[in-house]
């Protein structure tokens, strides 16, 4: 079974802090994604990566950056956390050409106070 793990299930940070969210997948997938999920807004794509050291902006990249130094690991960075970044963050991975199926981690519930 595909396994996608995220470093924290719950995280509380203060406004202005730099926040790192880590995601690791164990199935050698090429593509990795970061979403945030908010009530009434659904899943929104923040960034994605289709290869090591490659990254592309999604629909809402402002205030975020990413890093992919190894194929299995994709990190999301909040440069200076703000209260409007309080959300559920979901990481996903997918293999190339597999009908676009994505496999999600359990999510990180981030609260910025």
């Amino acid at each position: 079974d595909v396994k996608v793990t995220q470093s924290s299930r719950y995280l509380v940070k203060r406004t202005g802090e730099k926040v790192f969210l880590e995601c690791v997948q164990d199935m050698d997938h090429e593509n990795m994604f970061w979403y945030r999920q908010d009530p009434g807004l659904g899943l929104r794509l923040i960034y994605f990566s289709y290869d090591v050291k490659m990254k592309e902006k999604g629909d809402i990249p402002e205030g975020y950056s990413v890093s992919r130094e190894k194929k299995e690991r994709f990190s999301l960075i909040l440069e200076s956390a703000s209260t409007n970044q309080t959300s559920m963050y979901l990481c996903a991975s997918s293999p190339q050409g597999a009908n676009y199926e994505q496999y999600f981690g359990p999510g990180t519930r981030l609260t910025v106070t």
Binding site: Y50, E56, Y100, E101, Q102
Partner: protein
Amino acid sequence: TQLLEQSPQFLSIQEGENLTVYCNSSSVFSSLQWYRQEPGEGPVLLVTVVTGGEVKKLKRLTFQFGDARKDSSLHITAAQPGDTGLYLCAGGPGGGADGLTFGKGTHLIIQP
């Protein structure tokens, strides 16, 4: 921009009843996935449909892809409390690198 509209947004029914939820778009998708998400967890892939008119069954769940590959439905027979969750449909491609377009989901509650 591709959009997927899911209906109904909320549905609460009694255990044992049947239900159908819908996923509609004006765009053609090469594949469509259904996911179920439980509170506090990530979405879990249920099924992928790729051929227009395709029907797939997963125990009491029946998924259908429209002939024109623009819409899909999920039918649950004899719903059980364990079916409770957020059901998301997603169509591909919806962005770069095998991205998906997600609907906002149907919140389903099955009451015992």
